[in-house]
């Protein structure tokens, strides 16, 4: 395997490559696994091995246009995080890990987001939503599902 500018071998490009695919498609389909393997000089099984370890990457179908991760670890749970997760799912009409039928919003439980100073919190796209309340959670769901709603 030849070097890349940053790494002494191409295998180290696996995770960056999976991120590029996921950023574009909102999942990593099998065709992408094969293509990444060809580009990196790996067997598809090797790429699939790495991909399947990181549950972060959906493999079957795309996430919603907004992907919301609601923290359920101890500091957020102590300040109502689990109730907020239930509330958001209820407001969106889905179960945790589900996607709304219009493809707008996926809601998933997350482990500690490292924002315990703002518990309970949620990461949606690139935006950290802090000190969530039932009201701000409902407003978030409305915005995410509105026709103008774009992933933040």
């Amino acid at each position: 395997m030849g070097p890349s500018p940053r790494y002494p071998n191409r295998r180290a490009l696996t995770l960056p490559a999976l991120h590029i695919v996921n950023d574009c498609l909102r999942y990593v389909p099998f065709e992408a696994v094969v293509e990444v393997a060809q580009l990196l000089g790996l067997a598809p099984a090797e790429v699939q091995d790495t991909l399947s370890f990181y549950q972060f990457f959906p493999q079957d179908k795309p996430s919603g246009r907004t992907r919301a991760w609601v923290c359920r670890s101890v500091s957020c749970a102590l300040r109502g995080g689990e109730e907020i997760l239930d509330h958001i799912c209820h407001a969106a009409g889905i179960d945790p890990y589900g996607t709304t039928t219009d493809g707008a919003l996926t809601v998933e439980p997350a482990e500690c987001l490292g924002a315990c100073d703002f518990a309970p919190c949620m990461l949606a796209g690139q935006t950290l939503h802090k000190n969530l309340t039932k009201e701000s959670a409902e407003a978030f769901v409305r915005d995410a599902r509105s026709p103008a709603g774009t992933p933040s």
Partner: protein, 451 residues
């Protein structure tokens, strides 16, 4: 107590604190320039060694000593990995350092690379910190443009490339060899040690893995000196030659049931009670604490009576906790059921276990199922013995796993059952009045055909 004047956090709240111009106006990079001009790499190792700096990532290993494990006269390349995978529940100090003062971290990185003769540094950043990514990449770009990174830094002959590498939401990538495997493009399965990364690490080359806050401390030691660093914290015990002491300022993350959650800088050794009642404004809503996590969930629990324990590297161990860990203090008030707490902990570790070692994979999975069964009103007293057995047998310390995730999973189980056993027994008896005394095996809900 007198308020400690922040050093690591001095830039927090200053507008534009993350820019090169701001960092230079605060005296930043002058120490680096002086070191490159006047000191040899071995001088910098000696500086950090004599400061008594211990790693801030959770294990508290003396940083300068770790650097000396690198082989002398190795042809290279030598790698420096900076662990920014901060994922220990309750912990957010690295996030604040990277968002608000990335150049302080970068100066520490360049100094550390100079000391260890690393020529490439990878900063492994957890996925969940997008603002840190932007701030760090911006700072790295500024540093390259200013000749502080890249070839022949400041004409010293020393060259360093620093690259960001994005994680994918796996707690085990915070384990140094899990991080290395992930960087190499593989499943983040930790490696058996020895060999230690200093001998055979990233891409099988000598590697040092250091934490973000440790890097910031290196920058401050270079600026303010060893005597300054050693004037803060808890000196080593003169009666114990193996005690490296707890020197320097520490970032304490305070969260959970307190009035003022936040990241507070204080000398190592502040007690949990002082932190909670002082900086934290007290337990929220006028309540009392039932239990407090001293250093991230892996460290276990202190009871209210144990809150005068100093939060230095030696303190939490004296009350049966795993250690100081990440110094992330989480307060649990008297209205919380300890059963619910332990369920939350077991759920976290079951999710994050990488699955490589049987005692951890099975121990974390089964402890979660048992807590779920207990919360569903089908618990037995015998479950507590079985949970304690899992707690005592999975981990590096009992010698049954490759890495310490299992020890972190075990400690909340051990502490919760030992320190709050009465509450567990009451809960089980109350919620399963007809079955709490049963000792037969739990019947399987589904029989799975093998063929």
């Amino acid at each position: 107590m007198t308020t400690f004047q922040p050093v690591l956090l001095e830039a927090v709240g200053v507008a534009g604190s993350y820019t090169l111009a701001s960092y230079r106006s605060r005296g930043g990079y002058a120490p680096l320039e002086r070191m490159l001009k006047e000191k040899q790499p071995t001088d910098v190792i000696e500086l950090v060694k004599s400061s008594g700096l211990r790693g801030r990532g959770g294990a508290g290993f003396p940083t300068g000593l770790k650097w000396t494990f690198l082989p002398k006269d190795h042809p290279g390349p030598i790698y420096l990995c900076i662990n920014a995978d901060e994922s220990e529940p309750g912990t957010f100090n690295n996030r604040i350092l990277m968002e608000d003062d990335p150049h302080q971290v970068i100066e520490g990185i360049i100094l550390s690379a100079y000391a260890t003769r690393a020529t490439t540094a990878y900063l492994y950043l957890r996925y969940e910190y997008p603002q840190c990514w932007d701030r760090l990449q911006g700072a790295i770009d500024e540093a390259y443009a200013a000749g502080l990174l890249g070839k022949n830094i400041q004409g010293s002959g020393f060259s360093l490339d620093l690259y960001l590498h994005r994680g994918a939401a796996a707690y085990i990538c915070g384990e140094e060899t899990g991080l290395i495997e992930s960087l190499e493009g593989k499943r983040a399965w930790p490696r058996i040690k020895p060999p230690f990364p200093a001998i055979e690490g990233l891409f099988r080359k000598p590697t040092v893995v250091n934490n973000i806050e440790t890097m910031a401390c290196v920058a401050q030691i270079a600026r303010r000196g060893v005597e300054w660093f050693r004037s803060i914290g808890v000196p080593s015990d003169p009666n114990n030659p193996r005690d490296p002491g707890s020197y320097g300022p520490k970032l304490y993350c305070l969260s959970g049931h307190v009035e003022r959650p936040g990241c507070y800088e204080a000398p190592l050794g502040i007690t949990a009670r002082q932190l909670i009642d002082g900086q934290g404004g007290g337990v929220w809503k006028g309540r009392k604490a039932k239990a407090v996590i001293p250093g991230g969930i892996s460290m276990g629990l202190m009871t209210e009576a144990e809150l005068d324990t100093p939060l230095d590297f030696a303190g939490p161990g004296k009350v049966g906790c795993l250690g100081l860990g990440t110094a992330a203090v989480v307060v649990i008030d008297e209205t919380v059921s300890i059963v619910d707490f332990l369920h939350n902990s077991c759920r976290f570790f079951a999710h994050e276990s990488c699955g490589q070692c049987t005692p951890c994979r099975e121990g974390t999975a089964w402890s979660l199922r048992m807590l779920e069964r207990i919360r569903a009103g089908k618990g037995r007293l015998k479950d507590l013995d079985l949970l304690a057995e899992i707690g005592n047998t999975m981990g590096m310390m009992p010698g049954s796993t490759i890495c310490g995730l299992a020890d972190g999973a075990a400690w909340p189980i051990k502490n919760a059952i030992k320190k709050f056993r009465g509450e567990f027994e009451d809960y089980i008896k109350r919620t399963n009045p007809s079955g709490w005394m049963v000792t037969d095996p739990v019947p399987a809900l589904q029989i799975v055909g093998a063929h």
